[in-house]
Symmetry: C2
Subunit: 379 residues, 2 copies
Amino acid sequence: MDESNSIGIVTAQRAQFDTPLTFRSGAVLPRYELVYETYGKLNADKSNAILICHALSGHHHVAGTYADQPKNVGWWDNMIGPGKPIDTDRFFVVGLNNLGGCHGSTGPSSIDPQTGKPYGSSFPVVTVEDWVESQARLADLLGIKQFAAVIGGSLGGMQAMQWSIAFPERVRHVLAIATAPRLTTENIAFNDVARNAILTDPDFHGGDFYQHGVVPTRGLRLARMLGHITYLSDDAMAGKFGRGLRSGEYKYGYDVEFEVESYLRYQGDKFAAYFDANTYLLMTKALDYFDPAREAGDELARAFAPIKADFLVVSFSSDWRFSPQRSREIVKALLHNRRNVSYAEITSTHGHDSFLMQHQQYFDVMRAYLDNVAREFSV
Amino acid sequence: MDESNSIGIVTAQRAQFDTPLTFRSGAVLPRYELVYETYGKLNADKSNAILICHALSGHHHVAGTYADQPKNVGWWDNMIGPGKPIDTDRFFVVGLNNLGGCHGSTGPSSIDPQTGKPYGSSFPVVTVEDWVESQARLADLLGIKQFAAVIGGSLGGMQAMQWSIAFPERVRHVLAIATAPRLTTENIAFNDVARNAILTDPDFHGGDFYQHGVVPTRGLRLARMLGHITYLSDDAMAGKFGRGLRSGEYKYGYDVEFEVESYLRYQGDKFAAYFDANTYLLMTKALDYFDPAREAGDELARAFAPIKADFLVVSFSSDWRFSPQRSREIVKALLHNRRNVSYAEITSTHGHDSFLMQHQQYFDVMRAYLDNVAREFSV
């Protein structure tokens, strides 16, 4: 982190919602909490708010650090702060942990007040539509009638799109980054392998492992290792690790030999030590289910008909999980509806992970677009 | 199978080798057996023999059926038989189960005569070089001094290449299909996830599960599901399954919902029911290790210097696991050594699996090349 323009110390907040939320699945959650952070100042007419939607493993801690954890830097700190593309001197930025998450918002590892035990397998399967509904309630609580922009990458981009479909009057701009109008068959297949790693881990106990004092570490670790491969590009992995050997020679065994194995296993171990297995399942299911065209005769242009927001769509050349082709489908369907769309296809070797990395052209595009958004209101 | 030109009923044979084999790892196997099949007739001067090397999950049953198992058709029956591209009216075709396999040749699930128990974790890690050494001994046994051709796809293609490096005088032609001079970083990464699924399965018992009366089914199933995705192309999966739902609607749970999930889980279950987990580990390690350039200053052209064989190299446009780019590296290094090389890049949507499928252009290329090979000898 470049501390010279960090937002600095931030504080997480907690909002309680006592109006029952009915999920797409029909399940009802009587009450829930969302943990969130805000950066910058909401202006007098509350027109400068930006919502940041997170992806699979993200959360509400988007920028800055905590007073008691100076090294705990927000996951998009390079993008958000004073003078940064998402400029906290001009915008009031809201980040939250999604419902079903494992970073403080109500989720499978939270205690169900009705039973006194963790929700576990009883926590409803949540969709992008459900998240957007819960996010709208958070906006209500903050007095935000309309966001200047809703921004997200990957699964976060799906939420940003859904905002413009479900609440056309409540979002002026959508920044949809490294995302897709729905997953490909291959995407779903990878997710299913990751889910099966967790579901078949003997320590999963049908989702109620909390009561057994165990965690399905093996499954989570495999899921993360696999996911990690698909977030990178073939070239990026080759450039970073090549066929480098940890000890310089073949060992003819099953311990770590290649550098890439060491990296993947480390990433898997790290993730499995803190992430909730049920949350992982929910997040991948939300990815699989998102498909606005599905209820519009498989025509994305029809699904996009309600949209009033302007769009910035960004894709990355080496992203094979959410390829530029998928972003172009979004652009096409928006243009069909005569929406204002800016589209940037960034040349980058870092695969899907590019959307989280500092890249001059990408950041310039984001900054330029948001400069224009900021001109629409007075701070 | 088109029975009109099937080789018909075939019989597996067994060869015992009592000369100790020293592996690349330094391990020694005092004795071992190889199970193999032959089709067609070896001509008088033994100049019409073709060796088929198998890939990860292949074996010796390459063509035809068994008298007592009429539906057990060889894995490359579409390619091999009377009048087929690998024409058994002209060639004497040899297929074997590689050492370390689980289809009859000595492998981890075989009984170690020294202990009376399965080898399990004590079976040596085997390399492509070790396999070629053991295959050469089988050739000796069959009286074959020189193969007209050694043919293989994927991991089989690596063995075919290794034949021409290790035994330049013993192979006149190499047909290297959908293969690579070494795995990419991403390939190794996928293999490591698959291996970790097996290694961390509680039923694996460090490779000695046989004595525990269990099988690491969960791990094998995950490994196969993951592998299967990488053998197909994104487009092939989309064309075959799309986002089709098994019951026509979202179920909001973790049972099979998408058709592709059903297919993958079925493939995983089927594979896990018969394949040996230790063999899977060995096969993927052999893939990872193969890298002839490694001992030649990372210069493939130098590693290929001993080669005397002519080559047919075939790749498939949608194969992202062993992409055409990798085949071109092979071609380039052969041309550097002034070898005769034919190269065909087949346009196919079926990904890495293309090499096992009936495809007119691919079969025409194979047939034309082998027609020329057959002209070099008299049946």
